[in-house]
Amino acid sequence: MHKRGFFFTLDAIMSLIILAVGMFLFFTAILSVPSASQTELIAEDTMAFLSTTAIENLNDPIAGIGGTLWQQGKITKEKNTLLQQIGEFYAKSDSQAAEQFIQAVMADNIPQSHFAQIAVESQLLYPAIEPQEQTSSKQNTGLLIAKTEVVFGVTNTTTFELWGPYEVTLSVWQR
């Protein structure tokens, strides 16, 4: 009688182990999603770069101090972050300068394997006109990471025109 008790207990415990392993495999299989790490990191790093880097700390022949846009008088505030500058271009309805600026600052941030776009208040600024290849890639991608930041500022310190707050969305996905 006692031996049978041990046997049944042991039997039950072993059944439990099998069930537990089975459930573990089942649930981990359910939870596994396509790896988001690379796309997520690109999006996160790019957004951090845009929102923390000031124009004065950027060495770029187009977007930096003394660069093309600076000489044209389209960039005037060296303390602006890159994201603020994008917002300011939007506030001034200068989408051409915005695209040129974003192109210059994003060139080294987005690898060839990924696409990226930037929209302010849902208006696409980069690229201003989305190529067909990019549109279809976006529609067919399994994973698109969108990061949003709010930007605002004053156009200049003579008139103190406040612009924003605007929502800037960066979308990144794999080709």
Binding site: D11, A12, S15, M23, V150, F160
Partner: protein, 340 residues
């Protein structure tokens, strides 16, 4: 092994052994508990993580609004409010003067209105602090699904230095979202603004807008003053400060009779050629706060007046100063007292 569970069950149904039922029940209970733990653990982890990230995002948004947007909006509303007020003061009939500029300008910055004995005047429409903060409510609702409410309790403008104003707002902020609520009560945000670039109400109102002046600080040091520097100073329309002087501060200049300010008094000199004809060539000191103050040319009843003509090639006549200013500008050798 698993089929043995079934065996146990069949065994139990045969009622050959009550222990079979007992062990089967134990195993079922244990399976239920473990299943429950697994399902709770896996599903709960994802949900908690998502909630934590969302709270972090919303918290970041609120902090950004509180610490950066509201001070910037305050700075912009102050700049706009002060400029609009000066314009309003001299374009109204009769002229409008403030009695408590710090509070009254605060009200204009907050909601664009000025309370006067005759009623409420609307000075500014689109560039008030309330207007700027309402923009955040829109973006909070549209982008973050958050119901944001900002109450501006009080805005006050103070002169903190001769060339600086401080705008201070007391506000409360509450935010409600589906996952959490935020409440920040009676917070203070400040913005420090240089008065350089602001219009001087004394000139604008006293000349009905025909002689307006914007504050710019002269670079002349107290030890450098002489007739030549004074000539340049009058022509440029700049402002200076004399320690221990009786000049009013910028904020006091919104009053009809500005009081002297020991900490923050600034002054300029009136250029007679730019005055309206009706008030040119006055028997007064051309130090601005003395020129625009009502005074009698012979206050001492026939005694020599405290007034001196300043004659120098660099200074276009007429130009007069009282003794105190003759000394301050170091033009005593070019000064001749005017007799009553």
């Amino acid at each position: 092994m698993v089929p043995s569970l079934m065996k146990n069950l069949i065994h139990s149904f045969n009622f050959k052994s009550k222990k079979g039922i007992f062990f089967t029940l134990i195993s079922l209970v244990l399976v239920t508990i473990i299943t429950h733990i697994f399902t709770q653990g896996t599903a709960g982890l994802g949900e908690n993580e998502a909630t934590a990230i969302r709270i972090q995002v919303l918290d970041g948004f609120i902090s950004k609004m509180e610490n950066f947007y509201i001070p910037l909006a305050l700075e912009s509303a102050t700049f706009k409010g002060v400029n609009k007020t000066v314009w309003h003061m001299y374009t109204q009939e009769p002229d409008v003067w403030l009695t408590n500029p710090g509070e009254e300008l605060g009200s204009i910055i907050k909601n664009g209105t000025l309370e006067t004995p005759t009623g409420t005047m609307r000075i500014s429409d689109n560039n008030t602090l309330i207007n700027f903060t309402s923009r955040i409510k829109g973006i909070a609702a549209a982008s973050y699904g958050m119901e944001l409410s900002i109450d501006i309790h009080d805005v006050r403008l103070t002169q903190i230095a001769p060339w600086q104003l401080e705008s201070r707002v007391n506000f409360s902020l509450t935010a409600k979202s589906s996952i959490a609520n935020w409440s920040r009560q009676y917070r203070i945000a400040t913005a420090t603004l240089s008065i350089e670039g602001f219009p001087d109400p004394q000139y604008a109102v006293n000349t009905e807008g025909s002689y307006t002046k914007v504050i710019h600080r002269a670079s002349t040091q107290p030890s450098e003053w002489d007739a030549a520097h004074l000539g340049v100073f009058i022509a440029s329309g700049n402002y200076t400060r004399f320690e221990g002087g009786n000049a009013p501060s910028y904020l006091e200049r919104f009053k009809q009779s500005p009081l002297s300010s020991s900490c923050c008094g600034i002054e300029s000199t009136v250029n007679d050629a730019l005055l309206p004809l009706a008030i040119q060539n006055q028997q007064k000191s051309y130090a601005d706060y003395q020129f625009f103050a009502p005074s009698s040319p012979c206050p001492n009843g026939g005694q020599p007046a405290d007034l001196y003509n300043i004659a120098h090639a660099a200074i276009t006549p007429p130009f007069r100063l009282n003794f105190d200013h003759v000394i301050k500008y170091k033009v005593d050798t070019q000064a001749s007292q005017i007799s009553c």
